[in-house]
Amino acid sequence: MPANRDVALVAREVLEGAYVLLTFRHPEVAREARAGQFVMIKAGTSADPPLRRPFSILAVDPERETFSLFLKAVGAGSRALADLPPGGAAQCVGPLGRPFEPPSDGSEALMVAGGYGIAPFLLFVRELRRAGRTGRVFYGGRTVADLQVREPFTALGVSLVPATEDGSLGHRGRVTAPLEEYLDGGPGPATLYACGPDAMMRAVARVAERRGLPAQVSLDPWMGCGVGTCLGCVVRIQRPDEPQAKYRCACTEGPVFDAATVVWPGEAASLARRRAVEVKG
């Protein structure tokens, strides 16, 4: 059950490129969080900006009752969090949202992360491992500074394939290239998981569609409340049994959706195409 709490910043590690690792004490999040879930959090009590912000739960420590975020300061809300002094106060509710679903038996989890989109996959890798499953991470960004959460994966023995647009680390170019390369190598059955910029998630969804693979994407629309009441976060989703797409709250029915049900902005809803995928997936 999600819980709302005033939380204190327990630890803060400033990384390169406006990234920061923040750890807060929040027993319910620490105990219950599942991969793909998020918190709504806000530093202090100033009314400008007024709202909390959604961040994926990167890691939890149930014993210390803490959770951690991997956060990029991009605007006023994230900057206020990134600038919190140790001990500083935040308001936080979580864990929220629908988590990633594990791949069906025998299917390998191929995780594709862009920038801070790596965040939900650390918990996911641990969940997979607890279930005795395996996975592989494709991690993309503009430059090496966008790929800062690598050790925790390799420490768990998960293979992590980096890709940067400027070639500063790993494959030069889009992260979908090494993904396709891997799939071309003819591995066993696979399930795709994507979290990152919209364009990347669409690309992964297309790969999945083309290859007839199931895929889950973690969307990040703007969110006002995180609990299904502001109706600001709605995305168009069309389930196979539905005659047309419906607005659904990304905060409660997502953020993780079956990629085949997502009506991407600007794309005509091709139900037939999606149906076909559903049938195969």
């Binding site: 709302n4 703007w222 109706l231 607005y247």
Partner: protein, 313 residues
Amino acid sequence: MSLAVEIAGVRLKNPLIAASGTFGYGVEYEGLLDLSLLGGIVSKGLYMEPRDGCPTPRIVETPSGLLNAIGLQGVGAPAFVRDVLPRLARYDTAVFVNVCGDTVEEYAEVARVLAGAPGVAGLEINISCPNVKKGGMAFGGDPRMTHEVVAAVRKATRLPVIPKLSPNVADVALFARVCEEAGADAVSCINTLLGLVVDVEARRPKLAFGTGGLSGPAIRPVAVRMAWQAARAVKIPVIGIGGVSSAQDALEFLIVGCRAVQIGTANFVEPGVYARVLAGLEDYLGRHGLDDVNAVVGTLRFPGEGAEAGSEG
């Protein structure tokens, strides 16, 4: 210490009500907070039919405020009665329904559907809906249309009728009086202020719909002023709304003459807001040696005036 208040014959265990459109149908908060903490809940706006709502973006933040154009996405009155009301019956809180309409007839029809349903404490009439027969002008911007809508709902039901005043008028007191004359049992004051935020890079409105309604702490001084004006103008109770997120904010509305207070945007910011505000109210009453929240209602001493009429409570 008593926090109970009475609005239009409905007893609320405390003066805090969740504002329409900011608390879903209430059930969304089931896991997060105890709904029985609340004096009341106003459902989001309901037409007869389900509605899809506006395209996105639907909400944009502004300095200390929120601009929204949700477009009244909702399940429609009949589905609300069927699916939601039974779930709310478990909680000890008054359930008000926010009634919408494209036409005067639709308002009355929604009111009739709800009048027959168990568990509805009263109807809040959202007169800020666009009037489709009059080219989309809001009912609540015109005294005659306001009267017509309120009178039609009044005729359709014996439930308490509570029109919700629009702030986009020159003289909110006039509209409060019109509602009182049309048979309203109370008024809610205020709905959102009409606003526009421009995406300067794209040179379009940031909201897909264009303009939107401004809410949140930013509007509180305007809302308190209007609630004060409305409370001086009518004998029926006024429910204050606009930017409340603390006990102090709620007290501002009570002191200027409101019997109860709605909390809107703050639900998004802080799901636990009710417990905090209630604790703050109790602390205030204690510090001021009062044992009944009604004792603060209408106690504003305005410069050059005597104290406003005290409460009857």
